[in-house]
């Protein structure tokens, strides 16, 4: 890749890093959501009468965890479509 111009290299590296980043950024919150959902299911199985309260807390926790994945998505969208450093490499 040594003889590629800097702009091509920049695009290739951005795309590669974005792909890798979204994979990691989705897997980690997914594992967290798995743990939360499993505990909630256990709690509902143990005490079905508490399922309303558990459901509410479950949705809140899942939303909190999901926002981690959303942060990664926002960063990667900025990297891909609105990278502020792009003008230095690609020249405007």
């Amino acid at each position: 890749m040594g003889d590629l111009p800097a702009s091509d290299l920049f695009i290739i590296i951005t795309v590669l890093l974005s792909g890798a980043g979204i994979v990691v950024g989705v897997i980690v919150p997914a594992i967290g959501q798995m743990v939360v959902a499993r505990s909630a299911m256990n709690a509902i199985a143990r005490q079905p009468e508490a399922s309303d309260a558990v459901n509410r807390a479950l949705i809140l926790c899942l939303a909190m965890l999901e926002s981690l994945a959303i942060y990664i998505l926002a960063v990667i969208l900025i990297l891909l479509f609105a990278n502020p450093l792009r003008q230095f490499i690609l020249g405007g």
Binding site: A63, S67, A74
Partner: protein
């Protein structure tokens, strides 16, 4: 980059110094649909509800139930703001499914505006219920070392409210657009069905978090 053009709102016209983007026009259309629907449905209310009035009452009771669980004393005070947010976000998210419209919530300015409304209403209700000193006191309870953490969490919750709604809706639209580029007509349909689910859940989560934040400000600590 046609995909890129799809998600950046275009400036349609100017009113004085203000730019009117396509997001604002879409918001107006959705506001008009919701307002007309609610005015028409709320016109002939009866003691024994008919079909549509029943549906409307179910929505109000569901939102009221969410608030009542979190804030047992005087929950009706918070019904207007939470109900408005939930109904508007649901309509705005679902509006993206109408051809020609795009969800106003997939432009970051709309979720940011609503998160700022939530930020100020939390403080308004906190001061309204407990007085200025009582409201400020809960930042230094139980110990004053927590003050920076509390202030940081005030900012973080506003940002996370914004980005959660924005990212979910925009991500959904991007996935649908990418599927549409690959295989049009039938492949995006399951994803669009799934986006109905996401839209409603995100509106619920936004309203729920609003209730949680307000309840944190107005709850009496023993």
């Amino acid at each position: 980059m046609e995909l890129e053009q799809e998600f950046i709102p275009v400036v349609l016209f100017h009113i004085g110094p203000l730019q009117v983007t396509s997001t604002i026009v879409d918001t107006w259309i959705i506001m008009a649909i919701v307002s007309v629907a609610v005015i028409v449905l709320g016109k002939r209310l009866q003691i024994k509800p008919a079909r549509w009035q029943n549906a409307l009452e179910w929505v109000v009771e569901a939102i009221d139930g969410v608030i009542r669980d979190m804030i047992p004393e005087n929950p009706r005070l918070f019904l207007p703001i939470v109900g408005t947010l939930m109904v508007f976000i649901t309509a705005a998210n679902l509006g993206g499914l109408i051809p020609g419209l795009s969800s106003p919530t997939s432009d970051i300015n709309t979720p940011l505006a609503m998160a700022i409304v939530v930020f100020f209403s939390v403080h308004y209700y906190g001061i309204h219920e407990k007085g200025l000193l009582g409201h400020l006191k809960h930042y230094v309870e139980p110990i004053f070392i927590l003050l920076p953490i509390e202030l940081a969490s005030e900012l973080a919750r506003t940002l996370s409210l914004t980005f959660r709604l924005f990212g979910n809706i925009l991500g959904e639209e991007i996935v649908i657009a990418v599927l549409f580029l690959i295989l049009p007509y039938f492949v995006p349909v399951p994803m669009m069905l799934f986006s109905i689910f996401t839209s409603v859940i995100q509106a619920y989560v936004f309203g729920m978090l609003t209730v949680v934040y307000i309840s944190g400000a107005v709850r009496a600590y023993e």
